[in-house]
């Protein structure tokens, strides 16, 4: 679609002038970011769809009443609307029921803090940093496969396609990468744990 090459500002202008296909292009261009943003806040696909829909109803109303002030910031403006609607949702849905503390009821009987402490977070960061340094010791082909598999979450099929080797070779490289990592860890008497 030719619209895809136009900047947002032109598409908004075209839409206000009556070109409905400009809105299609704007939605196509930004839907992932806006929907992803909403989903990251509410963690519910149906609710995210509802808020996404309400966001664009507000966008359409504002654009059609010609009260939108174009400053080249279409996406941040839409994100702000989405953010406000998420906040409204949480206000309405009364997610925080109020309980007064009594002798029988104490909030601390029900609450526990499973969040990592600063210490454990520091240890985790340290372990991850150490591991990253260890990866640099591996041969390039093994390091590449290990990073794709463990950090980028690719399947061995995808890795084989990207690196241009067979799946078996990729599997072999992963196996040797792990064996070599263990050897380096043993040799240097490194303890990776938390």
């Amino acid at each position: 679609m030719a619209n895809l090459v136009f900047p947002d500002a032109i598409l908004v202008k075209n839409y206000i002038s009556g070109d409905e296909s400009a809105l299609t292009s704007l939605i196509e261009r930004h839907q992932s970011k806006i929907y992803g943003f909403i989903y990251s806040k509410v963690n519910d696909r149906d609710l995210s769809d509802d808020i996404f829909q309400d966001t664009f109803i507000k966008v359409i109303n504002t654009l059609k009443t010609k009260s939108y002030n174009e400053e080249g910031k279409f996406l941040p403006w839409v994100m702000r609307i989405a953010h406000n609607l998420v906040v409204d949702h949480y206000r309405k849905s009364n997610k925080m029921p109020f309980n007064r503390e009594t002798e029988e009821y104490s909030i601390f009987n029900y609450m526990s803090d499973n969040a990592p402490t600063i210490e454990s977070k520091m240890i985790t960061d340290q372990v991850e940093a150490d591991l990253t340094r260890l990866l640099d010791e591996l041969p390039e082909d093994q390091k590449e496969v290990l990073i794709m598999r463990m950090y980028q979450d690719l399947s061995f099929k995808e890795i084989s396609e990207l690196t241009g080797v067979s799946i078996n070779t990729a599997l072999g490289r992963m196996r040797y990468a792990v064996i070599n990592l263990r050897k380096i860890i043993e040799k240097n008497q490194i303890i990776l744990t938390n």
């Binding site: 409905e20 992803g36 989903y39 769809d49 829909q53 991850e128 591991l131 950090y151 980028q152 979450d153």
Partner: protein, 47 residues
């Protein structure tokens, strides 16, 4: 079970709204017309 020391930093889930949602928005946009008369805005939604 073995410990996992890696973070899936680069794994991005590409989330998109349902087709029905997009279709509703586009149809709403096509159906809506707003007329400004004096200081008031009148919204007309064509069926």
């Amino acid at each position: 079970m073995a410990k996992l020391y890696t973070k899936k930093k680069f794994a991005v889930e590409n989330l998109k709204p349902k087709k029905e949602t997009i279709s509703f928005i586009l149809n709403y946009s096509k159906a809506l017309s707003i007329h400004k008369i004096g200081n008031s805005n009148f919204q007309i939604i064509a069926n």
